[in-house]
């Protein structure tokens, strides 16, 4: 796969100091009122035609970040600049127009497809609503093209989602996203609900579509091996913050943040001989509550190398090596 990343071009997407806080408790049923800092000052960019992987464990804010980019959640503060327009400030009309060019593929294809619609209707509906293809016959032809493009057959248009396998349903989800002619697709755990033999099919499909259509992906996932395979650059999130961001190779060959190192060490490798030899340096404890994040560096209570300063000072994300950013005092 050859990707030309013209770095002189402005990025297709730029997220700046994105913050999303959720207020909880203190309502009808009482409970202590508090603020969940789901996304707490996240910044990154994506170049056109590139794939940025966003990894982290549950509750790290990776999905909320995706939803804020889509404006499915209104950010508490910060900006989301897509193809030159700040989605957090544009008028609703403009948002609808611009937002069409960002599509999303969800984890569970079954719950994201209307069970009462045929596959053909599912793919055609957004084209009709957004008046991309107004003529019904042209729409049907476009549906057939899209089905073929994602590796399905024209006759699948008459099927219902429940008549298809998980992998086929995810292909329908991809076709529906492509129907809107997007430039950016947010893939939120697109293969984690699929069997491993099917995961590789969908990943290959996404890569082929990117090469053919020049798509840009934000690939949100918890599987570090899958993210390494598909991403050009990778951002690691922990408790609402990006703790490290770098080119794929630099991040996996030379991780700078202790959390990234811990994540990589925790992944079991499918090779018993290697596993028997491998040191299992296991990070202790669990992710603290985003309701009450630790002071200083949010990773310090679990960090094997934390020093006194880590309890107090919040480490800024800084460029430790060219293009390789880490939020660690000791990196």
């Amino acid at each position: 796969m050859s990707k030309v990343l013209a770095t002189s071009e402005p990025p297709i997407l730029e997220v700046k100091n994105l913050v999303k806080h959720f207020h909880v408790g203190g309502g009808l049923f009482g409970g202590k009122a508090g603020v969940v800092r789901a996304v707490d000052g996240v910044s990154f960019f994506i170049q056109r035609g590139e794939t940025l992987g966003l990894v982290g464990e549950s509750g790290c804010g990776k999905t909320t970040t995706g939803r804020c980019i889509l404006q499915l959640e209104r950010p508490t503060s910060g900006s989301v600049i897509f193809e030159g327009a700040d989605l957090t400030t544009v008028s609703p009309d403009d948002l609808r127009r611009v937002r069409r060019r960002i599509q999303v593929i969800f984890q569970d294809p079954y719950s994201s497809l209307n069970p009462r619609m045929t596959v053909g209707q599912i793919i055609a509906e957004p084209m009709a609503v957004h008046r991309i293809v107004t003529d019904a016959r042209a729409r049907a032809a476009r549906v057939r093209d899209l089905l073929e493009r994602v590796g399905l057959l024209p006759r699948h248009a008459d099927r219902y989602p429940h008549e298809m396998s998980g992998g086929q349903r995810q292909r329908v989800g991809v076709a529906r996203a492509l129907a809107m002619e997007p430039s950016l697709i947010i893939c939120d755990e697109p293969v984690s609900a699929l069997d491993v033999s099917i995961q590789a099919q969908i990943i290959n499909l996404l890569e082929d579509l990117q090469a053919d259509l020049g798509l840009t992906y934000l690939f949100i996932a918890h599987d570090l091996a899958v993210v390494r395979h598909i991403s050009d650059r990778v951002a690691v999130m922990y408790l609402g913050k990006v703790v490290e961001i770098a080119d794929r190779k630099a991040l996996y060959d030379d991780p700078l943040h202790p959390y990234t190192q811990a994540l990589l060490a925790a992944v079991p490798i499918p090779d018993p001989e290697l596993e028997a030899r491998r040191e299992h340096a296991i990070v202790l404890g669990e992710v603290p509550s985003p309701l009450n994040p630790p002071s200083g560096c949010v990773f310090h209570p679990r960090c094997p190398i934390a020093i006194e300063r880590c309890r107090v000072d919040v480490p800024e994300l800084r460029e430790v090596k060219p293009g390789h950013w880490a939020a660690c005092h000791l990196a």
Partner: protein, 357 residues
């Protein structure tokens, strides 16, 4: 070491509106004392139904154990009365499931849930049971077990709940623990903690484990022997080392090749297993894997391959072409096999092949 559990020609079926689902279709395997055995496969392959059949927890009337034997410590569990079976569950075979909250009662304290089994199964007095519960929570890594006993499941995180479930599974010192996807719902750093804990405890206590999972990495870290299931049958069995080094069934080979790995250079392209998972109500004649198989030959369509020794009883494969799978292999990861031309055509544009049915 002797055989602890022996599953023999087990057949479990479900009747559904679309026909009889042959979820477990004549499988045989065993677990030796103190051994960790894995049952690996993808969704719908029958691995969980096998576990439920062993415990006689298959949901009736839709599900039914049609035939076979489950011989545990010399007794066939399938012939026991429900009363006798209740004494086996929890006391002689511990259980760990994927989602800890399915095993925990939300309205009872953790302490009560731990002591209940001890009082019923081992007729312990309350104070003894409590002392044992404290010991168990300490064993699974809680630093303040006495205080934890008074808490409710919702006060614990997912990883901690799974530790409690492990403590419950081990409470009566069972010789066998059955773990169905025990770390699938957990984050990767917590998964690593739980796997280490289970491994250390099973070794220290000499407990045999049956671990059911789809994750090849978990199996590699964990199992002594591996059974690979596909469409209700065992298609390959070997020691973990042998299976990963020298897979002899095209499905096993395909599974190993389809996952990206962190310990190897990134490959330009993944090698999926083409096609769709099997429909258990309409299995093809001959070999169930044939429609997706890169090694298939004509008689795979008519002759169902039996499990046979390749080359001896420690490694068995249900494939007519097992020798060719092995020889084309040259180390499972050193490049693509050179199988006969695939039936699936390459769809253009794009290079994804079609996925009709």
């Amino acid at each position: 070491m002797g055989v602890l559990l022996s599953v023999q020609s087990l057949v479990t079926q479900f009747s559904t509106s679309s026909g009889i689902v042959r979820a477990v279709d004549g499988v045989s395997w065993d677990v030796d004392e103190g051994e960790t055995v894995a049952l690996v496969g993808e969704s719908g392959c029958g691995k969980s139904v096998t576990a439920l059949s062993i415990m006689r927890l298959v949901a009736q009337p839709a599900g039914r154990i049609v035939s076979g034997h489950v011989v545990f410590k010399g007794r066939d569990l399938l012939t026991l009365s429900e009363e006798e079976m209740r004494r086996v569950r929890g006391r002689e075979i511990g259980m760990i499931f994927q989602e800890p909250m399915t095993s925990l009662n939300p309205v009872l304290t953790v302490g009560r849930q731990l002591t209940e089994g001890l009082e019923i199964h081992l007729a312990m007095r309350q104070t003894d049971a409590r002392a044992r519960a404290v010991e168990l929570l300490g064993m699974v890594g809680f630093s303040d077990p006495a205080r934890r006993l008074t808490q409710y499941p919702h006060q614990f995180s997912g990883g901690m709940r799974q530790r409690i479930v492990i403590a419950m599974a081990l409470a009566c010192n069972p010789p066998l623990v059955l773990a169905d996807e025990p770390t699938t719902a957990l984050d990767v750093t917590i998964q690593a903690q739980i796997l280490e804990l289970m491994k250390a405890l099973s070794r220290r206590l000499g407990v045999a484990m049956l671990i059911i999972t789809h994750n090849l990495g978990v199996v590699a870290r964990y199992a002594d022997r591996v059974n690979v299931m596909y469409a209700g049958r065992i298609v390959e069995r070997a020691s973990a080392r042998e299976l990963y080094r020298n897979p002899r069934h095209p499905y096993t080979l395909g599974l190993l090749r389809s996952v990206p790995r962190l310990d190897e250079p990134r490959r330009a392209r993944l090698q999926p297993i083409e096609g769709q998972p099997p429909d258990l109500t309409r299995l093809p004649t001959g070999c169930s894997f044939r429609p997706r198989c890169a090694f298939r030959v004509e008689y795979c369509a008519t002759e169902e391959p039996p499990l046979r020794e390749v080359p001896d009883a420690t490694h068995v494969s249900a494939c007519w072409e097992a020798e060719r799978v092995g020889s084309s292999n040259g180390g499972p990861r050193n490049g693509p096999p050179s199988p006969p031309a695939l039936g699936s055509t390459s769809a253009q544009p794009g290079r994804s092949s079609r996925h009709g049915e």
